[in-house]
Symmetry: C2
Subunit: 364 residues, 2 copies
DNA sequence: ATGAAAGCGCTAACAT
DNA sequence: ATGTTAGCGCTTTCAT
């Protein structure tokens, strides 16, 4: 594979390497005729800039790393897609890593991203506590924002029982409490007076927050919630199916089954069908995330939508906010009398969900 | 953000930078006690290697670029996941790019990957002809293998009417002809004697091959295929729904509807349900890809499975095959009398699909 | 507007 | 086993 460098181009164009650099990066004005000669030489030789050398010199890579618990989960696929688009618009590229729900793999990915000198990291920590050390350490090395999920404050510093506040690191996600308010209010209006909640093990932040939201608003609205109506499994269709079994074969049957994500809900729908329980006539079911397929199952799923595009934009904005301005920019800002925006303390941005009503709940 | 370099570590450990480098990369034996001192110094200072500098020097990045038409398509999500896992096992990372079915965006991504000096590129070209130039040009700069889809030979060089042979560039994908043989043989055994085919516009290689396979095996098995039973749309649920409308409202109704991917098939299922047409009693339906949700729709979908893990492994193997051995390796190989494997001509690897029989076709 | 040259952090000869 | 040193290809002062 040929390796044409800036030196080759300079020689052929009869100019210095500095001039070629200026032409290629348009960093400084260059004589008309010289520019033409340089471009011709570059084209003739099939020159392609070496981004590694450039990155070493400029100390930035125009690359952002992203670590998600599982790209096979359609919600994270959507999140990755949103990030990829938003970054592409800024001329940056995405380094994708999948932690497979494993804090060790996650830590390994974080280290690797830092070694590769990404300009920033967006991570959805797979575990509230087990991910904390690696995420916190990474945030000290590079601008980092937590997306969707976040780690909890260190135990020793936690006032006890708190949900954590993101470990003192920026976070962008959903207002889970509001989401559960929307869902339960809708179910209440649709006639439900008792409700079950199916979720995964409470090892990550959003799961915990959703359960808390469920408890709070169910109580506020006077829903009956039996003790064994909180079912923990994982974020899979099969887990939802199994949960439906437990709930429907029990003594009392809830009016509604609220699920912590759409995959679980789709499993619950299947569980209901297998047992001849009609949805929404006999029991109403809701999901969470509004993945594409929630529209295509039978009955189609009432759920809440997450604004992933806005999340991605906010995450990128925070990353930039945390990126120390280069000396040049700082000097220019001072010269022009514009004060630099001081970096704020850890920011938490909870975006509002949108209720999507479909066939798995009754018309109000 | 602190920036501790190898020099800082060397100073603190009282050794040379070379020794630190040797310890960090375990590239050469180093004294016991010295190693301990270096590791301590590195830990004390919070040293993290600079992968950019290393990449510049070693001329490799341990990074592979991947370009897919749409990460939101569950089949490509699975393919990305398989690649990510396979690369992770080799200590490499994945640069993910989404071309959004746009050859221009695709070309831009390819250029960017080359500038970033990825060690190899895996691309599923979004368009058979419009992607050809950029893919071919990229393949001259860096080891490149086409996955799933491939570009066609240049028109001028094509003997006319050929499907193209991958443009003279390595390809790993599915044996589409075999897949359609499996599907049609199964449908025939299940009693179908006439069949329609729903697919996307014929702008990419696998789409074309699947249609060709359908035509050939339908003919071999004596299926009746009316002229207006070949419906072109795109790879979406809605497109399948619409196609079902056209097929079911027509004068004659086929015994079976064969779909070029699962999304289309899921749309066809919906279209059938909307029109009160029972599947598989009135019409049998098959998909393609075996995406996760094909199992969870009603009725569950008979389809063919693509061996994405093997595809990923083969792609990586080909990449390595195309990677020029470094001088050191070449010298060692010569010294040990082991002849180097000569790089073969363009390779085409068509893996065998697996038929997955579910509820959308009749029991045989 | 252009050129000369330093050096980003690291690895790999080449010495010792 | 360890040290010295020359770059990898580029950007960016600093001269002119």
């Amino acid at each position: 594979m040929p390796s044409v460098t800036i030196t080759d181009v300079a020689r052929r164009a009869g100019v210095s390497v500095a001039t070629v650099s200026r032409v290629m990066s348009a960093s400084r004005p260059v004589g008309r005729e010289v520019e033409v000669r340089v471009r011709r030489a570059a084209a003739d030789l099939g020159y392609s800039a070496n981004g590694i050398a450039r990155a070493l010199r400029r100390n930035r890579t125009d690359t952002v790393g992203m670590v998600v618990p599982s790209i096979l989960n359609p919600f994270f696929t959507t999140l990755v897609d949103s990030m990829e688009r938003a970054l592409h618009a800024e001329g940056k590229q995405l380094f994708l890593c999948d932690s497979r729900q494993d804090p060790d793999v996650e830590a390994q990915h974080l280290r690797s991203l830092i070694e590769r000198h990404v300009d920033g990291i967006v991570v959805s920590p797979c575990h509230m506590t087990a991910s904390a050390a690696a995420v916190t350490a990474s945030a000290r090395q590079v601008p980092l924002v937590q997306l969707d999920r976040h780690v909890a404050l260190d135990r020793r510093a936690d006032g006890g029982g708190g949900d954590g506040d993101g470990g003192g690191i920026d976070w962008v996600g959903l207002d889970d409490d509001e989401a559960l308010r929307l869902l339960l209010a809708h179910l209440h209006a649709a006639g439900a007076r008792s409700a079950a909640f199916v979720t995964s093990e409470l090892t990550n932040s959003s799961t915990k927050q959703r359960l808390a939201g469920f408890r709070r608003h169910a109580s506020d609205l006077g829903f009956r919630v039996d003790d064994d109506w909180i079912v923990l499994g994982d974020y899979t269709v099969d887990s939802g199916d199994e949960a439906a079994g437990r709930l429907l074969d029990g003594a009392a049957r809830p009016d509604a089954i609220v699920c912590a994500d759409d995959l679980i809900a789709i499993g619950v729908l299947r569980g209901c069908r297998e047992r001849g329980v009609r949805v929404p006539e006999d029991v109403q079911v809701t999901g969470f995330d509004d993945i594409v397929f929630s529209e295509h199952v039978t009955p189609s799923l009432t759920t809440v939508d997450q604004p992933t595009h806005r999340m991605a934009r906010e995450a990128i904005r925070l990353l930039q906010l945390r990126t120390p301005a280069d000396p040049g920019a700082r000097a220019r800002a001072l010269a022009s009398g514009v004060a630099e925006e001081p970096a704020p303390d850890a920011v938490r941005i909870a975006l509002r969900p949108r209720l999507v009503v479909r066939q798995s709940t009754r018309a109000v």
